[in-house]
């Protein structure tokens, strides 16, 4: 049993108290004396030439302080893509400049081209209506296939194509895979889309910029998952200032899901405006702006093929994907459809040959980037759907075809044909656990009961894997990453024994303030209440790459435990001095430093106090103070995996799908706080069900966003989902990080969509509609009804 508040305890979250009493401090809750307000003008057309912007009338309106346009930022740098991807022919990707504000051309509906600053938000908004923008609408590039086929109509004229890159992974596999397909006894083929989603964190993006004219220091409060990354991008790439002149603070952040990883133009715009006006400037997105300008997710069109023996042994898999990057390259947009997607196409299976081709396409739509799962949901959906189709073609049971092809525990470490090395796992164990928890044996009885009510019941499975704990810098550097993906922590023990931990991870719902304190408390044998976790402020924390890719514990948590190890080592030195013993003889256990084999001991508190009251320290060999910093770069990705089962009931008259049951058996390695881990899975599955059944981002042929609000973009609501059954007892601890953790933040969103769609197809087949082999997400009533009636 864990000690109270230590590792493995479902400690209630300390941050909840402020959130439940209205004392959270989100960016829009912060106000600075004399702040002005920004309102951005956004393109109403998907593609247009800016002929001129006349702000005279707006500038004359009450309270208006300034109107800035793209021209005011034309001298600044571009917001860069974080990964350089090379095409199959060795050419580097096309990388058009992404300016702070559109200049010369607008490239998607919602592309910001000017900003009005006024004394109040309403004045800024009112004045925006008086800005006269002369914009000539041009034909929009919306459909990816058309964008690739038509080289006369370009999103970016200067690059001469709408293709960003044409990537093959692994190109050396290509010939062998083709050969395997030629000779395969059975080939299953499926064309599918992975629907475009809007992340829709409940807190819209917001920024509050401040400038100190005396020192030349900038400060930005913003909705960020990674304030140091924002500082780097804004200072070094866009605004061209020393990093030490910019502080970025991400206070409480109301969800991210990837969309708040990236630097957006609004942030640099308000920083610049704060300097120009010498006043703080605040901007808060309206939800309509979020829909138009936050980085969207997914949006793949894929053809996937699986070659097998007649009894369902996988021989080879290949896929061709068009991935939309939208109008500009967002920071991770080139990594998401490649190294977070192509490298996962082996799944948890022993498929010997895999080849993946991805063409990324510029279109006149909002940028597309990583959204919860990021590339791995797209890979998992393709793999798990084609396995389902293959099993049907061969007359095999869905669980059996998976069991036959899953890697077995004796195969680890396992090098996949797409370049990853899985360190550990037990996919049979999670499949068995899911089979038991979901009561698959009882499915037939439940199906019969549903049938009595006129409903078609179906069962869908998904056995998934992801690579997270992003990422080993040496590996991603070879693959084109322009940043390192280590993390850092400082552990500061104060003289009175309480501890501040400055972590590079950022919590925007994950509960780090509670969980990280549990870990430090366990390591040091002190109460968790003595430990405070500090995050989200570049002026306080040493460095950090932030939270995404299920990396917080695996990377930043590892840095933190390394720093605590250093604290213990320093504590031993101090104890050796205080106890007049050899450092080698000092043992640390349960919060006490003792001399081995004696009853001589000093408590952690006594050591801490001594470190700051060093009256008789041998200063040549022992420094005062008790504070340590550690950087941690992972040796490998981590590989969480799991087995999911979804049961649906389909109403054949209306096509409506209801989730009757959803069961998850996951392997996250060691679990620090089971309550929080379960909550992460619930949330991921909720989003996955949203993608599978409800959510879709739709642009018309002119590039107008048809789903621009919560009134026409179907977010999952409480009555769209059931209680979920979740389990994470089948643990194979990660072999290469100190806590043995793998990460759990994205799992639910990765594993669930194919389970839902497989269940719907299963229901239709069991109901006699065997002509339906696939329905694209979202599997809406209209699509299901049309599929049923398409014979």
């Amino acid at each position: 049993m864990p000690k109270d508040g230590g590792i493995g305890d479902s400690t209630k979250r300390r941050e909840d108290i402020r959130f439940l009493t209205g004392k959270g401090r989100y960016t829009d809750d912060i106000n600075l004396r004399g702040q002005a307000y920004a309102y951005f003008l956004r393109s109403e057309v998907a593609n247009g030439r800016i002929n001129g912007i006349d702000a005279k009338a707006a500038l004359a309106m009450p309270g208006v302080l300034a109107v800035l346009t793209g021209a005011d930022f034309a001298g600044m740098g571009g917001n860069p893509a974080g990964w350089l991807i090379n095409s199959r022919n060795g050419e580097p990707m096309k990388e058009p400049k992404r300016p702070v504000l559109a200049h010369g051309k607008v490239r998607h509906v919602g592309d910001a081209y000017a900003v009005v600053i006024a004394e109040t938000y309403q004045q800024a908004r009112d004045a925006a209506a008086a800005v006269e923008a002369d914009i000539t609408e041009l034909p929009a590039v919306v459909d990816m296939a058309q964008a690739l086929a038509d080289s006369t109509n370009l999103v970016h004229d200067e690059i001469g194509t709408n293709q960003c890159f044409d990537w093959g992974w692994i190109e050396d596999n290509r010939a062998a895979v083709e050969e395997a397909f030629k000779n395969a006894p059975h080939v299953t083929t499926l064309e599918l889309t992975n629907n475009r989603l809007v992340p829709n964190a409940m807190e819209p993006r917001a920024s509050l910029a401040d400038y100190d004219a005396g020192t030349g220091d900038y400060k930005l409060y913003t909705t960020s998952q990674n304030p140091h990354l924002h500082r780097l991008l804004i200072a070094a790439f866009v605004m061209g200032m020393p990093e030490n002149k910019l502080t970025v603070i991400a206070p409480d952040v109301g969800g991210g899901f990837g969309s708040k990883i990236y630097h957006y133009g609004e942030e640099a715009a308000v920083l610049h405006a704060a300097k120009v006006l010498n006043r703080p400037v605040k901007w808060v997105a309206e939800r309509s702006e979020s829909f138009l300008s936050d980085a969207h997710g997914r949006d793949h069109v894929t053809k996937i093929e699986l070659a097998t023996t007649k009894d369902g042994q996988f021989l080879a898999l290949r896929s061709e994907t068009m991935a939309n990057v939208g109008a500009y390259l967002s920071n991770f947009s080139t990594a998401t459809p490649t190294f977070l997607h192509g490298t996962l196409m082996a799944g948890p299976y022993k498929t010997p040959l895999v080849y993946v081709n991805v063409k990324t396409v510029f279109t006149n739509t909002a940028p597309v980037d990583a959204y919860r799962g990021a590339g791995r949901p797209e890979a998992t959906f393709s793999i798990e759907r084609i396995i389902d189709k293959c099993a049907r073609e061969l007359g095999l049971d869905q669980a059996e075809i998976r069991r036959k092809n899953l890697l077995t525990p004796d195969q680890f470490p396992y090098t996949t044909p797409v370049g990853l090395v899985y360190d550990t796992g037990n996919y049979q164990a999670t499949l068995d656990k899911m089979t038991e928890l979901a009561d698959l044996a009882g499915f037939e009885a439940r199906r019969a009961e549903s049938a009595k009510r006129g409903k078609l019941r179906g069962l869908g499975l998904s056995t998934w894997i992801e690579a997270c704990g992003i990422a080993p810098s040496n590996l991603v550097g070879v693959l084109g990453a322009r940043v390192g993906l280590f993390d850092a922590a400082t552990v500061r023990v104060n003289a009175t024994g309480n501890i501040s931990v400055m972590t590079g991870a950022h919590s925007h719902g994950q509960g780090h303030e509670t969980v990280f304190a549990q870990i430090v408390a366990e390591q040091l044998g002190i109460p968790a209440t003595s430990v405070e976790i500090v995050h989200g402020d570049t002026s306080k924390i040493p460095f950090g790459m932030g939270s995404y890719g299920s990396r917080s514990l695996a990377v930043a948590g590892s840095a933190m435990t390394k720093a605590v190890d250093k604290i213990i080592a320093k504590g031993k030195k101090i104890a050796a001095h205080m106890l007049e013993a050899s450092e080698d003889d000092i043992e640390f256990k349960d919060g006490n430093f003792s001399v081995a084999g004696t009853d001589k001991a000093k408590s952690f508190g006594e050591i801490a106090f001594s470190a700051y009251v060093p009256h008789n320290y041998p200063l040549e060999s022992l420094e005062p103070g008790l504070e340590e910093t550690a950087f941690y770069d992972p040796g490998n990705f981590t590989y969480p995996a799991g087995a999911y089962a979804c049961e649906v009931e389909v109403d054949p008259d209306t096509g409506k799908v209801e989730i009757a049951a959803f069961t998850c058996a996951d392997d996250f390695g060691n679990v620090m706080n089971p309550m929080i881990v379960n909550g992460q899975v619930h949330g991921g599955v909720g989003q996955g069900i949203g993608q599978a059944l409800l959510e879709n981002t739709s642009y018309d042929e002119n590039g107008q966003l048809l789903t621009g609000s919560f009134m026409d973009y179907a977010m999952p609501r409480a009555d769209d989902v059931p209680f979920y059954k979740v389990d994470h007892s089948c643990n194979t601890p990660c072999t290469h990080n100190p806590l043995g953790v793998k990460g759990c933040g994205e799992a639910g969103a990765i594993g669930s969509p194919p389970a839902v769609v497989n269940a719907v197809i299963d229901a239709l087949h069991r109901g006699g509609h065997t002509h339906v082999s696939h329905i694209n997400m979202p599997v809406s009533p209209a699509r299901v009804w049309a599929a049923i009636n398409s014979k």
């Binding site: 209630k12 979250r13 941050e15 909840d16 108290i17 402020r18 959130f19 439940l20 009493t21 209205g22 004392k23 959270g24 401090r25 989100y26 829009d28 809750d29 309403q122 992340p199 829709n200 964190a201 409940m202 807190e203 819209p204 409480d252 952040v253 109301g254 969800g255 899901f257 808060v284 309206e286 939800r287 309509s288 925007h508 719902g509 994950q510 509960g511 309550m675 929080i676 379960n678 909550g679 619930h682 949330g683 599955v685 909720g686 989003q687 069900i689 609000s709 919560f710 009134m711 977010m715 999952p716 609501r717 409480a718 009555d719 989902v721 209680f723 979920y724 059954k725 389990d727 639910g748």
Partner: protein, 158 residues
């Protein structure tokens, strides 16, 4: 600008408003009660739910001047007199019914209104009542659990 007065969390308050000032803006900007959150611009997300004369209301869909003199309760008024969490707030913490915390004030206010109307709702009734409150973090599992628990009913073990 007009001076608009009402009772908020038991205190008589007033602040300057325009005709178009929403109750949500009045609370956040006029009174500094930033616990009420704005998550959308179409009255869909429910992050801004408060109680006006005992009824759950999306404060982004009401003009402040239209509720002059009303008795308003916000998330800041939901704790016990001694500052400890109220029953529903405590159930949300106990059952991990919140993650990022942004939708939470609206969820708590809606849940309180539900339990005032229907002290022992079924699971289906809880889910239906909370349709107007969007959460992106929790998949609703632990929110529904928390509301059921706050009503004194059994909840699923996990």
């Amino acid at each position: 600008m007009t001076k608009t007065s009402m009772t908020v969390n038991g205190k008589a308050v007033s602040a300057e408003t325009e005709g178009r000032t929403l109750l949500s803006a009045y609370l956040r900007e006029g009174l500094g009660l930033t616990g009420t959150h704005i998550g959308c611009d179409t009255s869909q997300c429910g992050a801004c739910v408060v109680h006006v004369d005992g009824k759950a209301v999306k404060s982004c869909s009401v003009f402040a001047q239209d509720v002059e003199g009303a008795d308003v309760t916000t998330i800041e008024g939901m704790a016990n007199a001694d500052g400890s969490l109220g029953t529903i707030q405590q159930a949300f913490q106990d059952h991990h019914g919140l993650q990022c915390g942004f939708c939470t004030p609206g969820m708590v206010m809606s849940s309180a209104a539900l339990l005032a109307e229907n002290p022992t709702p079924t699971e289906a009734e809880v889910r239906h009542y909370l349709e107007g409150n969007i959460c992106r973090c929790t998949g609703y599992h632990n929110i529904v659990k928390a509301v059921m628990a706050a009503s004194g009913q059994a909840v699923p073990a996990e």
